[in-house]
């Protein structure tokens, strides 16, 4: 028991470090694609170190306790996701929570951002908060569709306890589906990739923090320590969301391939997991972010409901056909 508690602490510290590192790598990728040199990898660490010593201003008309509480809550809620998702190994608290809990916990950081924005008494932040809410309506549907389709496929193959993330990552979905089902899974995987930038508030779905339209949006009034906490929460959320995608669609380990066992297998799987994380970050954040501009707020929900939702619905239909056949 004590060991597990210790592991949870280790994993949260590790996730913060990895999150910041992947943020740095993402910035370098973005810079190289724009034919720039880009910052050093450790630049996000420097940013956080600087933000921690800056003055933390609370606006005069803000609801002070909400304004100061929400950054802490955002960071805590993303860190809480990590013990429930498999990170190259079985999830630490596999018997205590499942995919549905993770989906609910993923909503929480956005909610904290939104409440923090509303509490800061700035009209720009209020606009940003409303935009965040509208955006959530867009991306939640394809996200849940992906979860449902994977669970359905597992269920129809006669596996019990299908929402447990340990079960999902233990039985790769690609092996269970026929050719038609695999086509459906590819479609759902693609729609899931389009959820990542929306979930993390990056281009083309960064409407809630739009720099040039509403001057930073939700985070407008935050400075110093509070901004640093949101920065960290964003970094950890990248790891959490990418881990969920990996657990659903790419849960393969590499240790079986090389015939490793024991600690060596664990290490090899973990390194392979980091490589998968890098691929997801590259495709889901850097690449999509560079090739597209920001959508208008009136376009975000129609874009989500036209393409990812339709694509994932078709995918679900194909999987249904596959399970019947």
């Amino acid at each position: 028991m004590m060991f597990k508690v210790l592991l949870v602490v280790v994993i949260s510290l590790f996730a913060i470090v990895m999150g910041l590192l992947y943020k740095g790598i993402d910035r370098i990728f973005t810079a190289r694609m724009q034919s720039r040199v880009g910052p050093p990898v450790i630049q996000p660490f420097r940013d956080v170190r600087k933000l921690l010593v800056k003055e933390s201003i609370v606006p005069e008309n803000a609801v002070k306790w909400l304004f100061n509480l929400m950054p802490v809550l955002a960071l805590i809620s993303v860190i809480m996701i990590l013990p429930y998702v498999p990170m190259g190994m079985a999830p630490l608290l596999e018997t205590h929570g499942d995919l549905i809990l993770v989906l609910y916990l993923l909503i929480f950081p956005s909610l904290a951002l939104m409440i923090g924005g509303f509490a800061s008494s700035s009209p720009y932040a209020a606009v940003g908060g409303q935009r965040e809410m509208v955006k959530m309506m867009g991306y939640e549907f394809p996200l849940v569709m992906a979860a449902i389709s994977v669970a359905w496929l597992l269920r129809s193959s006669g596996i019990s306890n299908v929402f447990s993330l340990a079960v999902i990552s233990g039985n790769p979905v690609w092996a269970l589906a026929g050719p038609i089902g695999c086509a459906g899974l590819i479609m759902i995987f693609l729609s899931m990739l389009s959820v990542i930038p929306g979930e993390l508030g990056r281009a083309p779905f960064d409407v809630s923090e739009a720099d040039s339209e509403i001057a930073g949006g939700i985070l407008l009034e935050y400075s110093g320590r509070n901004l640093a906490l949101f920065y960290l929460a964003d970094a950890v959320k990248t790891i959490a969301v990418a881990s969920v995608v990996i657990a659903l669609f790419l849960p393969y380990g590499i240790s079986g391939f090389f015939g490793l066992s024991g600690m060596a297998a664990l290490a090899a799987d973990f390194i392979f997991y980091l490589a998968k994380l890098l691929c997801i970050v590259f495709i889901g954040l850097s690449f999509i972010g560079v090739v597209s501009g920001r959508l208008r707020i009136s376009q975000v929900v129609p874009v989500y409901w036209k393409y990812p939702v339709m694509v994932s619905l078709t995918g679900l239909l194909l999987i249904a056909v596959d399970t019947v056949l």
Partner: protein
């Protein structure tokens, strides 16, 4: 924590907020863009004064606009740097005999550094940032 130590951390990642009413901004855009790329030194432009560490005031200021500049400076979390860009901010530049331009910016805002030029070259801006880093090290 001491001010000097704070500044040491600050110069490693400077987030700038621009306040321009003249040609200065179009001349600083290449510095952001891919040719000079200021992000390699950890410098990025931000949209809100609350996130900013460095206020760049470009070009001449009028009696009216200096009030807004002062307000932006008050909104920034301290410690903060103020940079006056271009010769207009030092002496009024080519508007030296106008009735409503500010001739010397440091009469109104605590300016840490002037970067001369009309407008300054991107290299001059980097040299200015380097000067600040050297200043902090001492």
């Amino acid at each position: 924590m001491k001010e000097a130590k704070k500044m040491k951390r600050l110069v490693k990642s400077i987030w700038i907020f621009n306040w321009f009413n003249s040609c200065g901004f179009t001349e600083i855009l290449p510095v952001i863009g891919s040719r000079w790329d200021m992000e390699r030194f950890g410098i990025i432009p931000v949209a809100s004064p609350r996130h900013a560490d460095c206020l760049i005031i470009g070009g001449y200021q009028t009696e009216k606009s200096i009030k807004r500049a002062q307000r932006i400076y008050r909104q920034m979390p301290k410690p903060a740097i103020v940079i006056g860009l271009g010769s207009c901010s030092m002496s009024g530049g080519m508007y030296w005999d106008s009735y409503n331009t500010i001739k010397r910016l440091s009469d109104y805002i605590p300016v840490d550094l002037y970067i001369p030029g009309c407008p300054p070259r991107p290299e001059a801006i980097f040299r200015g940032i380097m000067k600040i880093t050297e200043m902090v090290k001492k």
